[in-house]
């Protein structure tokens, strides 16, 4: 039923919860998993350095968590790739899922409410409304999400 699973991965505890769920599913269905991390670049940047700095920071930020994700996948015996994209999180995830022919996106929920949800936006909400495939939103009670 599932062959290509995408995990929206921002290295948060919620995204690790999503990754674990995706790996469980992948193990059952013999699917591959791709973690997709999206780095936001400055809008209307003033200098090239401003852009490069964000890219550099992202590389440092994701290095260790992606290594950890790879070990989790290896433990389960699941094939896993990691992609880091740049731009708006929801948009890029949807575009990537469409281009890769994904048949499931798994994402964590931050459990934002009210004003925070309005200001920060909800990736899971965007995915549910725009993704080209089913979306599984993992709510982790222990994380309060």
């Amino acid at each position: 039923m599932f062959e290509k699973i995408i995990v929206a991965f921002d290295a948060s505890p919620q995204s690790f919860a999503a990754l674990r769920a995706a790996l469980e599913i992948a193990q059952k269905f013999g699917a591959t998993v791709t973690t997709v991390s999206v780095v936001r670049l400055p809008e209307y940047a003033g200098t090239l350095d401003e852009v490069d700095e964000n890219i550099q920071r992202a590389r440092q930020y994701y290095e260790q968590p992606l290594r950890q994700a790879a070990f989790l996948a290896a433990e389960k015996g699941v094939e896993m790739k990691s992609e880091v994209l740049y731009g708006h999180t929801g948009e890029r995830l949807v575009e990537f899922a469409a281009a890769a022919g994904a048949d499931l996106i798994v994402t964590g929920a931050r459990g934002l409410g009210g004003v925070k949800r309005y200001l920060l936006g909800s990736v899971s909400n965007y995915l549910v409304n725009h993704a080209p495939c089913p979306v599984l939103v993992i709510r982790d009670k222990e994380l309060g999400a």
Binding site: P42, A45, T47, D49, E63, A70, M80, S82, V84, F96
Partner: protein, 397 residues
């Protein structure tokens, strides 16, 4: 108002701009202009001589860093396309905006020239960020666009330096000094880095400031603009600085913490909201003139170089963006009395809008989807792959 209170207010605004910029993910330069405009219009903040001095040095260092970002190798590859697109991307908007300001809006010739220069610009940084998002920066097309942006910037800076210069002995001295210094600067700076680098007293930083201030003095004496030699110096030492990342980082830290905030805040403080309202129609028309001129000039060239319809429109829209050099040109015009505050407010607003609107249109309707697959996050993927046990590693590839 005493100096320390002024400094506190300006640095407070700069800090606030940084926080907003980080929170919203919008360029700090743009936020500083906006915060400066709010401060100028609602808090009565205004520039003082020492702020003007820091702002002036800020614009020079910023331009130097912009020149140093140029990759000569990129300029050499496909130079025909880059040169022609870049030059036309400068020339047509310059002529169109100048003609509109002079013949239709009734600005005087000097003011019209400033309008032409300010609206001829292309923002390399905005273009670069958009290309990284689409993965276009790794393609041939992306490299041509980026190189063309550098050429456009060079045209803008050269026009600013040449069009208002007094043709006298100072200009001759400036030209001679440039002709003498530019070929020597790359080997000389290499020697400075080799013999003097990594000392607490930062002699290499002082060396570059000395060069920039010296050439800037001659430029200003000739009624030219100090950003012209700054960009050229950046350009000729770009290859040397490519191997001095730590130095560039320190210089950028100094500039962004203590110099450019004063420049961009000042650029905003001098914007009058009243003048903006009065010039709303002109703002819209000038923005359309800039975008139309870029379209007329750049789009046929992209077709001639077989970019494909979608890529051609996308390139044209990206070349229509503007920010830093546009504000530098407008501020130069205001400082030298070539334009008044109303005209300045109109120009800065058009420049900022030109940074936003073409990008939004390009991203919404003309994004080259196919290029996204070429994006390879090698720097992240490598350590993960190395860490993987054999089975997962095979899957990872």
């Amino acid at each position: 108002m005493d100096l320390w209170l002024q400094a506190t207010i300006w640095m407070g605004l700069a800090f606030l701009a940084s926080l907003i910029s980080i929170r919203l993910g919008i360029s700090v330069a743009m936020v500083e202009i906006f915060v400066g405009a709010l401060g100028g219009n609602f808090l009565g903040v205004h520039p003082t001589p020492w702020i003007n001095a820091l702002a002036a040095v800020g614009s020079v260092v910023l331009t130097f860093l912009a020149g140093a970002e140029v990759e000569p190798a990129v300029l050499k590859q496909r130079w025909k396309e880059s040169l022609s697109i870049g030059f036309v991307s400068f020339l047509l908007p310059f002529l169109a905006a100048m003609a509109y300001a002079y013949y239709v809006a009734g600005w005087n010739l000097a003011g019209a020239k400033i309008a032409g220069i300010a609206l001829s610009t292309t923002s390399v940084a905005i273009v670069y960020a958009v290309m990284v998002e689409t993965g276009l920066n790794q393609t041939e097309l992306g490299k041509i666009i980026l190189a063309a942006c550098f050429i456009t910037d060079l045209g803008t800076v050269a026009a600013l330096g040449v069009l208002f210069a007094h043709y006298n002995l100072w200009l001759l001295a400036f030209a001679l000094a440039l002709a003498l210094a530019l070929p020597l600067l790359a080997p000389l700076s290499q020697k400075v880095f080799r013999d003097l680098a990594d000392r607490v007293s930062e002699p290499e930083t002082k060396f570059f400031f000395l060069v920039l201030f010296g050439l800037g003095t001659l430029a200003v004496k000739a009624n030219s603009e100090a950003v012209l030699p700054a960009y050229l110096v950046g350009l000729v030492v770009a290859t040397v600085l490519a191997g001095q990342k730590q130095f560039v980082r320190r210089l950028r830290g100094l500039a962004f913490a203590f110099l450019t905030p004063f420049y961009f805040l000042k650029a905003g403080v001098l914007v009058s909201f009243k003048a903006l309202w009065a010039g709303l129609g002109l703002i819209i028309v000038l923005l359309l003139v800039k975008m139309a001129a870029k379209l007329i000039g750049v789009w046929p060239l992209t077709a001639a170089f077989r970019f494909g319809k979608n890529d051609g429109v996308y390139t044209t829209l990206l070349m229509s963006t503007g920010l830093t050099f546009g504000t530098i040109s407008a501020l130069f015009g205001l400082t030298h009395g070539y334009i008044d505050r109303q005209q300045y407010s109109v120009l800065v607003t058009v420049v900022i809008l030109s940074g936003v609107i073409p990008t939004l249109i390009a991203q919404a309707f003309f994004k080259p989807e196919a290029k996204m697959k070429e994006q390879a996050p090698a720097a992240v993927a490598t350590p993960v792959e190395k860490a993987l046990p054999p089975r997962a590693s095979e899957g990872g590839k």
